[in-house]
Structures are given as structure tokens and as C-alpha cells.
Amino acid sequence: MDAVAMYQFTQQSLPACKPVLTPAWVTTTFFLVGALFIPIGLVSLHASHSVVEIVDRYDSECVPDLFKSNKVVYIKDMSIHKNCSRHLKVHKHMKAPIFIYYQLDNYYQNHRRYVKSRSDQQLLHGLQHNDTSSCTPEESSNGLPIVPCGLIAWSLFNDTYSFSRGTHKLRVNRKNIAWKSDRNHKFGKQVYPFNFQNGTLIGGGKLDPNIPLSDQEDLIVWMRTAALPSFRKLYGRIEEDLNVDDVVVVNLLNNYNTYSFGGTKKLVLSTSSWLGGRNNFLGMAYTSVGFSSILVAFVFLLLHVRNPRPYGDTSCISWNRKSISS
């Protein structure tokens, strides 16, 4: 700051712009906001609607009638075959790539105890990293450390899906579903699962001990914990278009236990737009904000026309009134 500016600063006399909330200014602003937001909202809505989405909740349907009243026993019984098949009808043309998500509801991946139970260092460095105290209660089993340790990895989602259209099996690309940065920098290329799911308590899925963690993309996806108790995680991509009225048969293994806490499992097939998946919220919010702005602008305009208020009328100040009356 040069000397003049410094002087102005110390004397608190910097040149200043003092905006006034005049009716014209405020009304115009609201109109402009409205004029800007409604189109954006409509575009967003359009984008959202252009997304084709098939959601299939399968958790209860995939339980045999025999076990309907006792789903937990069913899911915990390892001897029962968990095969299940679902028929999804495509109601609108879906352009590749079609994203396959599994959705869990009422699943608290954001629970404090859960979120904390991981060791980023171990994921990156494997057994070289000894301190896995943050992973309690899944840090070791049979006296040996677990790689990957912690509740998150331990509870890995392990339902599997395969898709076919008619007799033709759909090709599902399960590569590159995790963030590239995670694969490259968060999960070690030389780290192999060790002593995983060997304890007395088996959680979720198992891992192939011969594949390094950086290639275990299901795990990597799973370990990006969700902020909300209802979330979707990417399973893979179908890389061919699906046509209207196609019936996609899903063969799934219903392994994952959501029954004991009343959670739900859904399979989601969805295309994507520039705004992401199907989500009307932004579009609706934008249009409603836009409309409200215009409404507010009109109200203010009306108020101003019907009840113009002189600005800066100092005679309204009470002490001036007093001195008039006295």
C-alpha cells in the first residue's frame, strides 16, 4: 500500500462505495434471478428426465417363501443357496454406458464407529504398517493382523449380479468403477489381502488374496463411505444399449445381510446426463427459486407503486418529529 492509501487507512477514510437498496435495484435483481433460474431449472429438469433409470428392490423377493418370516436365519445360513433371478423390463431406450448400482437404504456407512474403523496407511503400505489400532474391532484375528483391516472392509458388500438379455449374456465392465486416484494413491499395488475374513465372525465379502488391493475395485468403491444412510455404489457398466421392451434377466447372489437391521437392497440400472443421474431436485429447486424471485419482484413492485416511500426522509426520525411538536 502506498503512503496515500496507508494514510487513508489509518484515518479510516478509504474511498468507499455505499450501495443503497433502492426499489429499482432490488426489484431488478429479483427479476433477473428469476429470469436466470427458470431456464436453468428447466434445462436441469430436462437433463434429469433424459436419464433412464430402472430400480429394482430385491431384498425381500429374493428370500424364499419358506424363510419370509425369518429372513435373518435365511441369510445367515451358509448352506442355503442364495441364487435369485430378477426380470427387469426396459421401458425406454437406454444408451450405453448403462451404470449398474446397488443401493442400500437405512445403512449407516456414516456411523462414527464405522467410519473410523479403517487404516489408510495399511491400505497403502500393507503389512509394513503395523499400527492398526484405528481398525478396532477388526484389526487382527487369530493373532495375525488383517489386511485390509477395519469394519468397513470387513463388511464389504458381496451380492453379485450377472445380466442377460434373452439368451444373450450382457457384457458387464467391472473395471474402472473406482476412482483412479484411489487406485493409484490410496490402495497399494503391492498390498495383498491377508488373513481377511478368517475370524470367527464373518462379515461381508471375501477378497482374492492374489489380487492386490489397488485392483480390488469393489473394495475401493465400498470404502468410499457414503455420507447419507441411503446410497448407491457403482457395481459396473453395461456397455451396450438396451432397447425399449427388452427384458433384462438378472441373476444375483443375495449374500449380503440387510435383514437384521431392516435395510433394503436395490439394483439400479441408470444412464447418465451431464448433471449426473436422475435427480429432479436441482431442476425443481431452480425453477421454484426462479418463480419465487419473480413473485417477490412483483410484490415489491406492487408495494412500491401503491405505497411509495421517500428515501432518506429524515423528518420521519422520531427525534425530529419531537422537535417539531415541541
Binding site: T10, R112, S155, A226, F231, N320
Partner: protein, 1260 residues
């Protein structure tokens, strides 16, 4: 026995250089001293008990151990104790204890939701900032102490007697020769300069002109001709006390001078610490009381000996100063109070949430197999969840406080403000404000170049909250420069036409023609005083006087050809029309505030006649007129002059018979050496001589008000600030000044009520009458002031404290005359006890206690030394600044340099208003959004206490992102200075502090708590409802948010928090709900909203505001990009990913629009249709139109002729019965009502001091 010295000796030159060790001379005194030394120590203790101390002059061996040294220490800390003491102090604040508790809890990994660094970082930062500030302040105190302590003081080390006279200065070795008798002169060699801290009791200290007096001294010699000198001996004086007006001691001389004669010493023989030696070439004194303020050794010792010994600062000033308490601002106090309440509330929330969490855990979480709650849990398991919530809620305390203050402001202004201020910023802001005061060019004293200085940086915001200003009079309101203006000599009025008697031809003619009345009048003017003429080499004569009145009279006499040329000890030389006349002063009957007159007895050397010359207040002189004389003309003259706002003095004389004088003289001598009731006895003796006076005439003197004082006071009064004038002056003077400087509004609006009385009964009655009147007039727009004198005040404070307090609350204006320093302090305390914010301003040592007692002390570093400004929180230079202040800006305080601080400058005032805005409004916007988001998040994380934000962002957000805009908002101005000057009333509305008085406190507190509950706790309450169903579904959350939204839409913050939260979780639902991303979206939303809120709430954008607001936003992205680029960080790549997503930016825009739209609409609506007064002024100012205000202050016309106002002091005959207790009680008013003039023209010249004669010696 000491005798007055003759000038001739004192000025004669040194004949031979003295040797340092003089072998023979001291022997005699050594011998005699040893006599006194026996049992000295034992006796000393005894003497302390008997309230006496013996000071052996220049006897270093003995005194050293008995009395404390003269080290001054105002330091709070030493290097060793700084850390513990400072930490102790900081932790004695509840707020900090709380933070520490939280920070300690954070260390327990089981419960901490975030990295402990997010709490420890800010905590340490806060503490470091506070400690650094304290350390810096203390270091400055140390430096100034050091400067004072190491100041060179010349001390006499070897007592050597020699037949030499005069003194000489030889570089470092200074030799002082002080004369004792005409026979024997004593030479002291000042062997060295010591540091001020090493001065010991008994040392002889030698001072030069303009030196500061290092400790209390008994003067033994000065360069002045009439300077009195005493030889070695012992001074018998009372133990130190705090009464700066009394010092009754005796001096006993050792043989060979011991002749059983005791020299009386009074306060007149002393110079007190911290005074400055003025108008005197040199002076010599014996240290009797030395002082160190907080020597630790003394403190330690004093614990043991406190009952027996006086330790610590023993100087009069040091003792009368009292121990200053640390000053807490209104905001500080409120914060502490509120924190407690909110803490309790928080505990409730935590318990509720904790129970909810535990219930959820037991019913739901145990089913969530993936969480693996252990079947068996340790005993403290139940505590874990509540404690986690405690930590999460810990953000709530600062928030809620700010929130509460926000509401306070909203309450006041009907407007919700969103500025964030957290504790770090609070300290910084305070310091910045203090800096602005230091920097302000308009508060620099142009005459001396002294800038104003904020010593106490912690209380800046209270400046805007001042409700009472208690001001000293002389030197503060007035210039303390007297000018002789008119006179009335035996019935003839001089100076009435021209306004200046010195230019009145008639008077000049009368002098030339030698009219005896006029000559006698002028003679009294010239010699009835204690003035010392100083003749310079060129022959010009200047006068040095203790009393400005006397100086004015002597000067005037000189202009009228009766020139007081020289004072040689007792001989006064007068030059009249070329011929020299000599008078020998036989006795001086000194001025006291009770006698209100002074006289001298002189012998005319030509005729040998003995004459008594008197001057004094009319009421004490006129009654003693000789029986035959008509005094009516004179009392009329006094009335007339008083109405002109002049101080009046009656001059009288009487020729004495030789016998009469001789007889009286011996009585006088005897009275003068009594130790008991000396003052009273002397007064009684004087009374015997002052009778049958021949009244010569009345002289009228003008004491100018400081420039701009009336306007300033007017402005400040309009701003709702109440003025109390506390003065040592007499009632009439005080009232006159009050009238002339707008303390009291002119009739018929203004009314003065008098409380007086000498007995409890009288005071009680008078108090009750005044109270009654006050209550009656309360509803009327009347300006009622009460006047109380020191005596009545003493009684009122002692016995009728309750009634007096009520009176104090009712009355906007008060005049306290004849108030002692401790009474001044008591009044401040009284007002403070009613929860008013007080500002005390003064310039003299007698104001020190008041200044320290007040919430804000302003000291004027003026002619009366630096005591006041050293004790003060703000020190200001002298008068020019006021002028500048007034002309250019809203001013502020007043003063002869002496400003009142009300607005030192417009900005300042503004910044006060503003400041209060920031403080009170500053609703930690950021944190509350964060808190709300966090606590909302807690539902969806299963009430398990997961934090939505990661540690780094949380910490950075708290310390960084939110502080900078606040710092800049310091510079924000609601209104320009000009507008504020025109509408000082606006300040009144800015004083949120007013809402803090007890009557509104309860309601206010309830409200603020309610809002705090709504905002902070709302989620908690909702959580309870939600958790009841033991399901924490998103749908429930949506409902909860909706519920909150509707319920709390009034509170901007909750609303915006919900906007951020709701939008984030919906826009980032399902496949996007990755935790790091969601939290970053929410955080960015907070930042965007915050920037918008700060922008919309900023009134004036300077480059700094833009930098802070937008720069902050950019900094946010910059920092996050950097962090995102680090693979090791938790949020690696997050920010890049988000910035590539269109949905991120669309979400941000949505958050801003949805969050700000309602705020803007509401603000506009209020701004336009429910305008606050500030809004109207802002509009007026910014629309550029002329600002019309009927309440503005026009400069008071200064010409003499114009503007005759009808103000008068209440007169009994024009009042109804209720008004009886007015000034009719005072003899003065009776007299006045009998007089002819009922019309005053006080305002003909606002810069005039209107006053009847008060006294010839300023003692307030």
C-alpha cells in the same frame, strides 16, 4: 529556625569550587545526629504506630532500611511469572475454562469426532494472541516504568556546610548551596545523579525546571526569592495517607540551630510525586514519602506487616490512587454471563442427545451388525455418546453467544445481522480500534503534537456504550486561562461599554489623574497575592502564579501602570508612573476553600502604615464591610458580572493600628504552628483581622471555556449521553459553567435542583424534595439537573445511598461541586453499580481515582502533569485537538486539551456504533451454519456423533475463513461522520448497552436464550422427536428440516444452515453421496453464503472489504486445491473433481440464491418499510440529497451582541410550591432574586466562562 531567604544571597555567585569531601564542616551535625539515632529503629516502629514518621534529612544510613525505595512498577508480570500468571488470568474466565475442558476432552480418541488439532489449534492461537497482547502491554509498561525509574535525579549525598551561596552546575557534579541564615550558608554537594528509583526517604533531591518530581518532597529551597530554606534537622510528619491536601508536619532543627523552635510544615511546603516543577529554576526538597507501587518484596512483607507498617507506595498520590481493577467491557461481562447460561442449556442438549444416542444404540445400532457394538461394554460406555455430543456442541457456545448478541441487536434494530466474530477476532478487532485511536490525525494535539493514545486496548468497544460522562471542570471544560475584563470601583463601572476595562478611557484617565480609590484598588490587585514577578534580561516582566486569577489581576494592574516589579523575600517593589514604591509583607493570610478569601498584611515603606489588603468571594468579603459603607452597588456589580459569565472578586482594604497588628501577629504565629486542627485555628485567627473592611470594588475575570465545549456537550447530550460534572469548585462557579457549556438546557426546558444541607436531616429533606420533583418532571420533556455539594454528597452517600441512587438514575445531568477525589470515584462507582457505562475524563492528579474507577478513563496530558493520562485508558493531548475535532468531526470529548471522547472524530463514534454492531451482532455466522449442519448430520449418522467436516477444514474455517471479513468489517461505516454530527441522536440508538440495564436484562436474556435454543438447539429437540421413533431415516430428516425451516425461518442463520444442508444432501444424493464430497460441498456452500452475507451486510465497500470478502472466497479455493493436490490428505482430488462437475457449481449458485433471496427481500423490506433510524440516515446520506434535520447543531453564534437567551437559574418567585427546593436555599439565589437582572445572556458568548467568583486558587 528557618528564615525566608533574601534574593540577594540566592543569586550571588559561587566564589570557590567546593571540595567533595569536606573534612571539617559536617562534624557538628554529625554529633548532634548521633544523639537522635539512638533507639532510632525502635522508635521508628513505635512512630509508625503513633502515625508519625521522623525523616532525618540527608541521613542515608538510617532511612534506607526503614522505608521503601522509590521504584515504580506498574508491571503485571515478570519474566518468571508471566506464563503462569497470564495463563491463570486467562483461565479465570469461564469461557476459556470451557474451551480448555473441551480441548482436553478432544484428547480422548474414543470420543473425539474430529482431530484434536481443530480445537487445540484455535485454542492455542487464541491464547497466544491474548498472551502476546498482554506481554506487549506489559512490556510497554515496563519501558515506561523503566524510563521513570531511571530518570536521573540529583541527590545530595554529602552534607557539607560552607559559606557559599547560590549554586553552580558542573556537568555531572552539581553543587547546590542553599542558604540558611544570613549568617550561615550551607553547601550541599550533589555528588551524583542517581536514578529515580534509588531515592530514599531523607534524601535531598534537587530539581530543575520542568523536572518531574520523583516522590513527595518537603521543599527546603528554591531559586525563588521568597524560597524558604531549612537546615538539617528532622521532619516530623504523619504517616503516609492519601489525602493530597493535607500535610501537617513540623521541622525540628539540630544544634547549633536548635532553639526549641518548631517550624510548621504544611502541604504548601511539599511537592508531590509526579508533579512538574514549573516556573522555577531549581528547587530542593527532602524526600519524605517514596513510592513503589507493586514491589513484590513489599507485597510479601506487607502481608506480614500490613497492620503495622506502611509499605508499597507511600507517596500521597500513590496512596490516593488506589489499586486499579482490571476493566471488563460490557461485552466481556455479558459473554461470561451468557456463557454460563448457555453452558447449562448445552448440557441439557447433550444429555438429551446422549440419551437419544444411547437409546438408538441399544435399539438400532446393535442390530447394525456391521458396526459391531460389543455385547459387553465398559462402565463409561454410557458417557461416550453424550461426551461426543458435548464436543460437537462445543462450537455452540461461541455461536450461541454471538447469536444472542445478534438478537440483542435485532431487538434493537429489528434487523438480523450476520457477521461472524469469534474470539480471536474479538481481540484483534479491539486492538485495531485502539490503533485507530492512536493513528487518528484529528485527535492529535496540534499545539504539542501529542497524539492520543489508547493505553488499554481491550475496552475499545465500550466507547460506543458510554452512558455517563463524568468530567472534571477546570482544565477540562475551561482553558484555565483567566483574563481581567471589567471592574467596578467605588460605584463606577469600567469596561461596560467596550467589554474590556483595560481599554476603558475613563479608567485610564482615573489612573493618570491619581484618583485615590482607583489607585488603592489597583494596589490591592497588584500586591494582594502570591504572584512572583520574573524580570528577564531585557527587562520584560513575566508573572508566575499558582492561581490564574491572581496572575490576571497582576497583569491587569501592570497594564494600568501599577507594575509589580520585584518580590525580594518580604519586600515588594511596585512601580507606579515611574516612581518606585516598596511594601514589606508582614503576613499572608492564605486562601482556603472555606475562607474563600485571602489577605496580606503589608507595611508601606514610605509612610510606615500597616495595611490589610483582602480579596475574595463577594459572600465572604461584603459581610465584613465596615459598618458605614454601602455595599449595595458592589453586590449589584457582582450580580451583573456573574450574569455575564465572569468570575468576580471583591477587593477591600483596611489600615491597621500598630498595636492591633502586633497583638494579632503573635496569635497568628502560634496558630500556624499547631499540629492539631491547624487550618481551623489559622482561619479563626485570620477572621479576627478581616473585619471592618473598606470595600474598594469588584473585579471581574473571564475564564474562557475551551473552544467548542458547549457544542460538544450539546452533541453528546443529544446522543443520549448523560453528563455529570464533578468539580472541586464551588457551587456557583460550577453552576455557571454548567449553564454556559450546555450542561443544562436553557429555560424553560432546563431546571436546576439543589441538594444541600449541613446536617443529615437537612440533606435528607432536600434530597427527598429533589427526588419528588424529579419524579414529577420525569414525564415531561424537561431537562432537570441536580446540584450537590461535597458535604451533602458525603452525607447522601453515607446515609441515603438508596435515594441518591434513584436520583442518579433519574437525572441526566448532575453537578457535584466541592467534590474530593474519593467522592468523584464514589460517584463513578455508584453509577457503575447501576450497570451504567461510565467514562471519566480529567486532567489532574485529583481525577486519577475517578479515571481508574470508571469503565473508561480518559486522561488529558495537559499542564497539570501526566498523572491523569498515565492512569487513564485513553490519553489525549491538549486542546487544539478538540477544536479540530469539533470543526471537522463529531467530537467528542472536551477539554482543555481535554477532550471528551465522544467522538474524537466522527469515525470513531461511528466505529463505536459499528463496533457495538459487530460485537453484538456478530453472530458467528459461519460456526452456526456449521453447527447446524453438523448437528443435522448427526441424525443421519445414527446419532453416533460423526462430524460432517474433516478436521482441517473445520479448523481452517474457524480461524481463517471467518475472521478476515470480520476484521475488515471493523472498517465498515454505517454512516459518514457528517451525518452523525448532524444526528448525534443516532448514537443513542446504537447503544445496545442501554439494553443491558437490569430492568430489561431479564427479558432480553430470555429472548436471546430462546433464539439460541431455536438456532442451536432446535436440531437437538427435533432429534429427540425423531429418535423417539428410533428410526433415523432420510425422510424423517426431511421432515425435521422442514419443521425447523418453518419454525425458525425468522432466524437467518438457522435458515441458511438448513438451506445449505438440505440442498447439499438432495443435490448430492445416491450415487454422489460420497462423504468427502458431500462435506466439501456443504463447506463451500457455507463459504459462499458467508461471503454473500458479509457482502450484503457491509455498508461501505472499500478496497479492503472487497479484498477480504472476495479474496477470502478465492483463498478458500486456493487452499483447498492445494490440499486436494496432496495424495496424503484425506481430501485428495476432491476439490478438482467437484470443480469439474457442473452440478457443483449449480448447487453453489442455488445455495447462494436460496440462502440470500429471503435475506435480501427481508432486508429490503425492513430497510424501506420498517426503516430503522440508521437506515433512514443511510438512505439520506447515500442519495446525496441535503440532509435536513431539525435536531442538528448549529454553531453557536459567537458574537457578543446576539442571542440573548432567557435562561436563568430557577427563581423561587416564579416557581410553584414543588419547585421550592431550588436555589432559594442558597444565599446566592436569594441575593440574585433580589437583584434586578432576570435575563441572562449566557449564550451571548458560548466560549465564555460564566461564573461568579469562586476562589483565587484552583484546587479542583
Amino acid at each position: 529556625m528557618a528564615v525566608p531567604l533574601n534574593t540577594g544571597y540566592a543569586t550571588s555567585k559561587l566564589e570557590e569550587p567546593p571540595s567533595r569531601h569536606h573534612p571539617s564542616a559536617p562534624i557538628a551535625t554529625q554529633a548532634t545526629r548521633s544523639f537522635h539515632r539512638n533507639g532510632h529503629c525502635r522508635r521508628e516502629l513505635l512512630n509508625r504506630l503513633t502515625m508519625k514518621r521522623f525523616v532525618y534529612i540527608n541521613d542515608d544510613d538510617l532511612s534506607d532500611d526503614l522505608y521503601c525505595d522509590n521504584r515504580i512498577s506498574n508491571r503485571k508480570y515478570t519474566l518468571l511469572n508471566f506464563l503462569p500468571k497470564n495463563l491463570w488470568e486467562q483461565f479465570s474466565r469461564f469461557m476459556n475454562q470451557y474451551f480448555l475442558l473441551i480441548a482436553c476432552l478432544q484428547l480422548w480418541p474414543l470420543i473425539t469426532p474430529v482431530n484434536p488439532a481443530s480445537t487445540w489449534g484455535p485454542l492455542i492461537f487464541i491464547f497466544a494472541v491474548s498472551a502476546t497482547k498482554e506481554a506487549w502491554d506489559d512490556y510497554n509498561r515496563y519501558l515506561s516504568d523503566k524510563k521513570a525509574n531511571e530518570k536521573e535525579v540529583w541527590v545530595v549525598r554529602q552534607g557539607v556546610k560552607k559559606h557559599v551561596k547560590g549554586f553552580n552546575t558542573v556537568n555531572k557534579a552539581i553543587v547546590v548551596y542553599v542558604l540558611v541564615f544570613d549568617r550561615v550558608a550551607v553547601e550541599w554537594e550533589v555528588s551524583m545523579a542517581v536514578q529515580a528509583q534509588d531515592v530514599r526517604v531523607g534524601n535531598i533531591v534537587w530539581l530543575r525546571e520542568n523536572d518531574e518530581v520523583p516522590c513527595d518532597l518537603v521543599l527546603i529551597g528554591t531559586s525563588e526569592p521568597q524560597g524558604i530554606c531549612y537546615v538539617e534537622g528532622v521532619i516530623e510528619c504523619p504517616n503516609p495517607d492519601r489525602d493530597i491536601r493535607r500535610f501537617d508536619a513540623n521541622l525540628r532543627l539540630f544544634p547549633p540551630f536548635l532553639d526549641n523552635d518548631v517550624c510548621p510544615l504544611t502541604i504548601k511546603n511539599t511537592i508531590l510525586q509526579s508533579c512538574y516543577l514549573r516556573n522555577t529554576e531549581w528547587a530542593c526538597g527532602v524526600a519524605v514519602y517514596t513510592g513503589n507501587v507493586y514491589g513484590w518484596l513489599q507485597l510479601l512483607l506487607s502481608i506480614v506487616y500490613s497492620l503495622l507498617l506502611f509499605l508499597g507506595n507511600e507517596t500521597k498520590l500513590g496512596m490516593s490512587r488506589g489499586v486499579p481493577e482490571p476493566k471488563l467491557t460490557a461485552v466481556d461481562a455479558m459473554i461470561d454471563k451468557l456463557t454460563g447460561a448457555i453452558f447449562v442449556f448445552q448440557i441439557v442438549v447433550v444429555i438429551v442427545l446422549g440419551i437419544a444416542g444411547n437409546v438408538w444404540k441399544d435399539t438400532e445400532a446393535r442390530k447394525q451388525w456391521y458396526v459391531q457394538y460389543p455385547k459387553e461394554s465398559p462402565w463409561y460406555e454410557l458417557l461416550v455418546i453424550p461426551l461426543r455430543f458435548e464436543l460437537l456442541c462445543s462450537i455452540m457456545i461461541p455461536i450461541s453467544i454471538k447469536e444472542a448478541f445478534n438478537k440483542l441487536k435485532a431487538y434493537r434494530e429489528f434487523m438480523v445481522d450476520d457477521k461472524h466474530l469469534d474470539f480471536v477476532s474479538l481481540d484483534l478487532v479491539k486492538s485495531l480500534y485502539a490503533k485507530f485511536i492512536d493513528w487518528d490525525n484529528e485527535m492529535v494535539d496540534l499545539e504539542t503534537g501529542t497524539p492520543s493514545h489508547a493505553t488499554n486496548t481491550a475496552i475499545s468497544e465500550d466507547l460506543g456504550q458510554v452512558e455517563y460522562i463524568l468530567t472534571d471542570k477546570t482544565g477540562t471544560l475551561t482553558e484555565n486561562k483567566m483574563i481581567f475584563k471589567r471592574c467596578c470601583i467605588s460605584g463606577t463601572f469600567y469596561g461596560n461599554e467596550s467589554g474590556d476595562a483595560l481599554k476603558d478611557v475613563e479608567l485610564l484617565n482615573a489612573v493618570t489623574s491619581g484618583s485615590p480609590d482607583v489607585i488603592r484598588f489597583l494596589t490591592v490587585m497588584a500586591i494582594c497575592n502570591t504572584v512572583i514577578p520574573m524580570q528577564s534580561k531585557s527587562g520584560a516582566i513575566s508573572y508566575k502564579a499558582q492561581s490564574q486569577d491572581e496572575e490576571a489581576l497582576v497583569r491587569a494592574a501592570a497594564r494600568l501602570h501599577i507594575v509589580f516589579v520585584r518580590r525580594n523575600a518580604n519586600i515588594l517593589d511596585i512601580k507606579f508612573n515611574g516612581s518606585a514604591i516598596e511594601y514589606e509583607v508582614l503576613d499572608t493570610l492564605e486562601f482556603t476553600s472555606d475562607r474563600k478569601r485571602m489577605s496580606v498584611v503589608v507595611r508601606d515603606c514610605r509612610s510606615g502604615n500597616i495595611i490589610l489588603l483582602s480579596k475574595g468571594a463577594d459572600e465572604t468579603v461584603l459581610p465584613h464591610a465596615s459598618a458605614g459603607q454601602q455595599t449595595r452597588t458592589f453586590s449589584e456589580a457582582v450580580d451583573q458580572y456573574a450574569q455575564l459569565g465572569l468570575r468576580t472578586l471583591c477587593l477591600a482594604w483596611r489600615e491597621l493600628e500598630e498595636d492591633e497588628y502586633r497583638e494579632w501577629s503573635s496569635m497568628f504565629k502560634e496558630a500556624n504552628s499547631t499540629l492539631v486542627d491547624r487550618e481551623w485555628r489559622v482561619a479563626e485567627v485570620c477572621q479576627r483581622l478581616e473585619h471592618d473592611l473598606d470595600i474598594l470594588g469588584v473585579a471581574a475575570i473571564e475564564d474562557r471555556l475551551q473552544d467548542g465545549v458547549p457544542e460538544t456537550i450539546e452533541t453528546l447530550r443529544k446522543a443520549g449521553i448523560n453528563f455529570w460534572m464533578l468539580t472541586g469548585d464551588k457551587q456557583n462557579t460550577a453552576i455557571q459553567i454548567a449553564l454556559s457549556c450546555n450542561f443544562v438546557s436553557p429555560e424553560p426546558k432546563g431546571q436546576l435542583l439543589l441538594i444541600n444541607g449541613k446536617t443529615e436531616d437537612e440533606v435528607c429533606r432536600s434530597l427527598e424534595r429533589v427526588l419528588l420533583t424529579m419524579r414529577i418532571t420525569k414525564s415531561e420533556p424537561k431537562d432537570v439537573a441536580f446540584v450537590v455539594d461535597g458535604w451533602a454528597l458525603e452525607i447522601a452517600l453515607k446515609h441515603y445511598r438508596k435515594a441518591f441512587t434513584e436520583l442518579a438514575i433519574l437525572s441526566r445531568t448532575a453537578i457535584c461541586c466541592r467534590a474530593t477525589p474519593s467522592q468523584k470515584a464514589q460517584l463513578v462507582e455508584l453509577l457503575k453499580s447501576c450497570d451504567y457505562r461510565t467514562l471519566a475524563i480529567g486532567d489532574g492528579g485529583n481525577d486519577v481515582r475517578m479515571i481508574q474507577q470508571a469503565d473508561i478513563g480518559v486522561g488529558i496530558s495537559g499542564r497539570e502533569g501526566l498523572q491523569a493520562s498515565r492512569a487513564a485508558d485513553y490519553s489525549i493531548g491538549s486542546k487544539s485537538e478538540i477544536v479540530v475535532g469539533l470543526d471537522g468531526n463529531l467530537v467528542v470529548v472536551i477539554g482543555d486539551g481535554e477532550m471528551l471522547m465522544a467522538g474524537g472524530d466522527g469515525d470513531f463514534v461511528l466505529s463505536q456504533g459499528d463496533f457495538s454492531k459487530i460485537i453484538f451482532a456478530g453472530p458467528n455466522y459461519g460456526s452456526s451454519v456449521q453447527f447446524n449442519s453438523t448437528s443435522s448430520f448427526s441424525f443421519i449418522s445414527g446419532v453416533s456423533g460423526t462430524s460432517l467436516f474433516n478436521s482441517v477444514s473445520l479448523m481452517a474455517y474457524n480461524v481463517f475463513y471467518t475472521s478476515i471479513p470480520v476484521l475488515v468489517s471493523v472498517l465498515d461505516k454505517d454512516l459518514s461522520e457528517a451525518t452523525v454530527i448532524q444526528h448525534p441522536q443516532i448514537l443513542f440508538y446504537c447503544q445496545a448497552g442501554r439494553l443491558l440495564n437490569p430492568s430489561t436484562f431479564a427479558g432480553w436474556f430470555g429472548r436471546s436464550l430462546f433464539h439460541a435454543v431455536c438456532n442451536g438447539g432446535g436440531h437437538g429437540l427435533v432429534t429427540v422427536a425423531v429418535v423417539d421413533e428410533a428410526t433415523v431415516m432420510v425422510d424423517d430428516q426431511r421432515e425435521a428440516a422442514l419443521f425447523l425451516l418453518i419454525g425458525k425461518i425468522i432466524t437467518g442463520n438457522a435458515f441458511q444452515a438448513i438451506v445449505v444442508f438440505v440442498i447439499t444432501i438432495h443435490a448430492y444424493a445416491f450415487e454422489k453421496s460420497e462423504m468427502e464430497e458431500v462435506s466439501m460441498v456443504a463447506l463451500s456452500g457455507c463459504i459462499w453464503l458467508q461471503a454473500s452475507v458479509v457482502a450484503i451486510e457491509t455498508n461501505s465497500f472499500t478496497i479492503l472489504q472487497h479484498l477480504a470478502i472476495w479474496g477470502n472466497l478465492i483463498a478458500f479455493y486456493a487452499i483447498n486445491w492445494i490440499v486436494s493436490a496432496l495424495p496424503s490428505s484425506g481430501m485428495y482430488t476432491i476439490m478438482f473433481r467437484l470443480c469439474r462437475q457442473p452440478s457443483y457449481w449449480i448447487t453453489m449458485i442455488l445455495i447462494v440464491a436460496a440462502g440470500m433471496g429471503p435475506v435480501l427481500a427481508l432486508k429490503y423490506f425492513r430497510y424501506t418499510y420498517r426503516s430503522s433510524k440508521i437506515n433512514i440516515l443511510q438512505q439520506a446520506e447515500r442519495m446525496g440529497g441535503p440532509i435536513l434535520s431539525l435536531g442538528n447543531i448549529e454553531p453557536q453564534p459567537r458574537s457578543l451582541e446576539k442571542d440573548v437567551s432567557t435562561l436563568s437559574i430557577s427563581q423561587p418567585k416564579s416557581r410553584n410550591a414543588v419547585y421550592e427546593p431550588l436555589l432559594s436555599d442558597s444565599p446566592n439565589a436569594t441575593r440574585r432574586s433580589a437583584g434586578s437582572a432576570t435575563q441572562f445572556d449566557f449564550f451571548q458568548s458560548p466560549s465564555r466562562l460564566s461564573s461568579s467568583y469562586s476562589r483565587n486558587c484552583k484546587d479542583n
